[in-house]
């Protein structure tokens, strides 16, 4: 049923280039895999989507861009049937549909990879995937036939370069591996539209490029893709067209191949922003060792973590040390050992201003001036069901928020308000629950909470994971400003671009070993990329390093 929007369809010049392939489908709305028009969704206090329309052809990779809170997630939930719009219509393969539920969307052939994974932790990979088969035709194939399904998962995972053991339990998987499961879960089914919510945010550059090969292959087979990413370079590299949302409205559409990233970014945020710019290098002459890690050797966490092996590094006041690496190579272990969530086997492994802190609890380390931004926002970084004020108190207790065991409510609210305004956190005031914030806004709050405490040492994991360009710039600037005030900062991130923008020195973790640490000016993305893949000589252990672990295992692991 061609509506008044029909004439707009001719705007796309790509229709001609791809038209040849999909000629048999052309005619009226049929040339669109999915089309929506006039989608409006109002939540209390916000218009999440305001008259949004979108159209994707078969085999097209379409980008949806926008800042946090621009309404991308709402639109995707509507297209996947999780929520229903207040008004507006959706056509799928030329038929108008009211998407009642995700099951309904999947029966039509719509798959979705969520940003917050919807996996069941106590089940195995293959069980998780089996659960998403819901519908008569698929039931027969999947029900009870876990063995067959496992074989298919292995096929798909090796075919698309996403190795995963189908029989592992999800709780033992790293973030990156969980995402693979999410993607494979969609690929196992016969889908004709795949929606991906920031799929690259946890992948290494190598993984991203292999994912792109996968996605392009899917598109070439006729599958349509709706791709959400904050990384404009990726949108440029992958997508055929882009729709930009701002404050719930369409801010524009463009061809990412011909539009510059600056133009796309300004469409997103409504003003010119700096992108990928290198921040100033540290000018600190202070040669003290604020944080020193010496010979840190620890067992892996859980069955599938990476054991840390003879890690040496130090950070000076007024310096940012970047540690690159793919998730699951010892980052979790390192962060937990540095923060004190897990105690080191020897106090001397970690020193803060020459004081051995390896066996101090997190609270004691905080009293010595350490602050931590953990990897998981909800659960470790913040308590989901507590208000922002209370979450501020959780680590800000040293900021005079407590007196003689009593809470100083006014100061607690003041501290939270300060974080909210200084870091432009979008929330319904300091009484909003942490879980009500979008991922990016919560990240801004957590980082702001730690930075405003003026720590001597800041350990920061994935500072801009899932955060949009505007917020990422703000976070980076705040980290640089904190560094210039003399704080030593360790940033662990999978985002190499980010590390090259803000770090003064850089190293990489691979299989629990740390590469050489070099000044950023003296190395290149390629070299660090190789370190991430494990191509480096393990630095000779220093004679002074305390030996803790079994010598035979060290010897074994030394062989390159």
């Amino acid at each position: 049923m061609p509506a008044s929007h029909q004439p707009e369809s001719s705007r796309s010049h790509r229709l001609d280039s791809k038209g040849a392939v999909f000629d048999n489908r052309s005619g009226g709305d049929r040339c669109y895999r999915i089309r929506c028009a006039g989608i409006t969704k109002v939540y209390p206090g916000v218009v999440a989507n305001d008259q949004v329309s979108l159209a994707i052809q078969p085999g097209e990779i379409h980008a949806l861009l926008g800042e946090n809170g621009a309404g991308k997630s709402t639109l995707m939930k509507i297209l996947y049937g999780v929520t229903q719009p207040d008004s507006g219509s959706i056509w799928f393969d030329g038929q108008q549909h009211t998407l009642k539920s995700p099951a309904h969307a999947r029966r039509l052939g719509i798959g979705m990879v969520f940003q917050h994974f919807s996996l069941f932790e106590t089940l195995t990979v293959v069980e998780n995937i089996a659960l998403s088969f819901y519908g008569k035709a698929m039931d027969k194939r999947a029900a009870g036939q876990l063995k067959d399904l496992a074989r298919r998962i292995e096929e798909i995972s090796s075919h698309y370069g996403m190795p995963i053991d189908p029989h592992r339990h999800v709780h033992s998987l790293s973030t990156g591996e969980r995402q693979r499961v999410e993607i494979i879960r969609c690929l196992v089914q016969d889908i004709s539209l795949l929606i991906l919510d920031e799929p690259t945010s946890v992948l290494t550059p190598q993984e991203v490029s292999s994912l792109f090969v996968t996605l392009k292959k899917l598109a070439a087979e006729g599958c349509s893709l709706l791709f959400i990413s904050h990384k404009l370079q990726e949108v440029k590299a992958l997508c055929d067209s882009a729709t930009v949302l701002r404050h719930g409205k369409i801010a524009g559409t463009c061809d990412p191949k011909t539009t510059s990233t600056e133009d796309m970014a300004s469409m997103m945020v409504g003003s010119q922003t700096t992108l990928g710019q290198r921040y100033s290098f540290s000018t600190s002459k202070n040669e003290d060792k604020r944080l020193a890690v010496t010979g840190l050797t620890e067992a892996a966490m859980g069955e599938f973590g990476a054991p840390l092996h003879d890690i040496h590094f130090s950070v000076k006041p007024g310096e940012i040390l970047g540690i690159a690496g793919v998730a699951g190579n010892g980052q979790r272990e390192l962060i937990q050992l540095l923060s004190g969530e897990r105690l080191a086997t020897s106090p001397d492994f970690i020193t803060l201003d020459n004081q051995a802190i390896g066996q101090l609890t997190p609270g004691k380390r905080r009293r010595l001036g350490m602050a931590v931004v953990p990897e998981e926002r909800l659960g470790r970084g913040a308590v989901p069901d507590m208000s922002l004020s209370e979450n501020g108190l959780l680590t800000g207790f040293l900021q005079n928020l407590v007196s003689g065991g009593f809470l100083r409510q006014r100061r607690i609210h003041g501290f939270a308000n300060n974080v909210i305004s200084r870091f432009r956190v979008k929330a319904h005031g300091n009484s909003a629950d942490a879980k009500s914030l979008s991922g990016g806004n919560l990240q801004k709050f957590i980082i702001g909470r730690e930075i405003l405490q003026d720590p001597k040492l800041l350990i920061c994991a994935s500072p801009t994971w899932g955060v949009d360009v505007g917020a990422a710039n703000l976070i980076h600037q705040s980290l640089i400003a904190l560094r210039d005030k003399g704080t030593a900062i360790v940033v662990l991130s999978e985002d190499l671009d980010e590390l090259f923008q803000i770090s003064d020195r850089i190293g990489a973790l691979c299989h629990g070993k740390l590469s050489p640490v070099k000044p950023v000016r003296e190395t290149s993305i390629n070299e660090v990329g190789q370190w991430m893949a494990g191509v480096f000589d393990h630095p000779e252990k220093s004679a002074s390093a305390p030996m803790a672990m079994e010598p035979d295992r060290q010897a074994k692991e030394y062989t390159p």
Binding site: L123, A130, Y134
Partner: protein
């Protein structure tokens, strides 16, 4: 100890453990789906009294059993209306259900106290019941005992191999993820809850129609609570529930046996033995903390609010 005594002890162990096993299995399925129903004791009592009355008035034990299943489900429905549909606090609702069931069963059953009934008789299974020691314990029982074993096996297979079993586990872990995947959360929880209710009713009926075929006020004597604890300490595993239920049975018998042997321990102290022994053994079994945490249904007892 001679062979006869051991044989009889095992026989009584299975009988005593059966009502516990039935109730605990029902609650296990219910909890796996994320619904914590503390009303087991109330549902059991209602099952016991209604089953007894039905069997006595019609003379059909089977009819009594069917009525106890139905009344258990009706009680569970009451719970579901409040806790699933209206999202009331599950703990409070469950406690209320227990109190309600205890009161109502006492009221309904006043006229039937002291009346006697020929309960379920043992059904010998040919050949198998001749096996020394185990033959009597496992193959010379009444039909409800065989049912309890069959149901235990069925539930084990259900969670181990079937897709609906997987769905129940997933919904108990994260109803929101389950919705995202497209699983029917509310409906699955209702079915699990009703199953739990039916099993509690059956457990009650076992007491009043087979174990001691009569009705006495409060005759479950806390077995509903023990069943609840059993599920937790058994880490939501069917085989451990079976083990725990029989262990409880064994300890209950041992207290009688020890008394009979003239042990010079206070009988009141001995009476605590079943409770103590069951809990100690199961605590030891579930002492591996990191593992047992993963076994518990993560959303147990949390109301589910579908997204608007």
């Amino acid at each position: 100890m001679d062979m006869d005594l051991i044989t009889n002890i095992l026989f009584a162990m299975v009988r005593t453990g059966t009502p516990l096993l039935l109730v605990a299995l029902g609650e296990l399925v219910c909890e796996k789906s994320g619904v914590l129903n503390l009303g087991q004791e109330g549902m059991m009592l209602m099952g016991a009294v209604i089953g007894f009355i039905a069997a006595l008035t019609t003379g059909s034990l089977i009819f009594g059993v069917i009525m106890s299943l139905l009344v258990g489900m009706a009680m569970a429905m009451l719970f579901g209306l409040l806790a699933i549909q209206l999202r009331a606090n599950q703990v409070a609702t469950g406690l209320a259900l227990t109190i309600f069931g205890a009161g109502l069963s006492a009221y309904v059953g006043t006229d039937y106290i002291g009346q006697a009934l020929a309960g379920f008789q043992p059904m010998l299974i040919p050949l198998l019941s001749d096996i020394p020691i185990l033959g009597k314990a496992l193959f010379s029982q009444d039909i409800l005992v065989y049912c309890s074993l069959g149901i235990a096996l069925a539930i084990w297979l259900f969670f181990r191999f079937s897709r609906p079993g997987l769905m129940v586990k997933a919904i108990g872990e994260s109803p929101y993820s389950a919705t995202a995947v497209g699983l029917p959360v509310i409906m699955t929880r209702w079915l699990a809850l009703l199953f739990g209710g039916a099993m509690a009713g059956l457990g009650g009926a076992y007491l009043s129609l087979a174990y001691t075929p009569l009705w006495a006020e409060g005759m479950t004597a806390g077995r509903g609570w023990i069943a609840l604890a059993l599920v937790v300490f058994a880490s939501w595993k069917v085989e451990r529930v079976l083990l725990g239920a029989w262990l409880f049975g064994l300890a209950s018998i041992m207290h009688l046996v020890l008394q009979g042997m003239g042990a010079s321990i206070s009988s009141n102290l001995l009476a605590t033995l079943p409770y103590l022994a069951t809990i100690v053994v199961l605590v030891l079994l579930s002492s591996n903390q990191s593992r047992s945490r993963l076994l518990a249904p993560m959303s147990l007892g949390k109301p589910y609010h579908p997204a608007g």
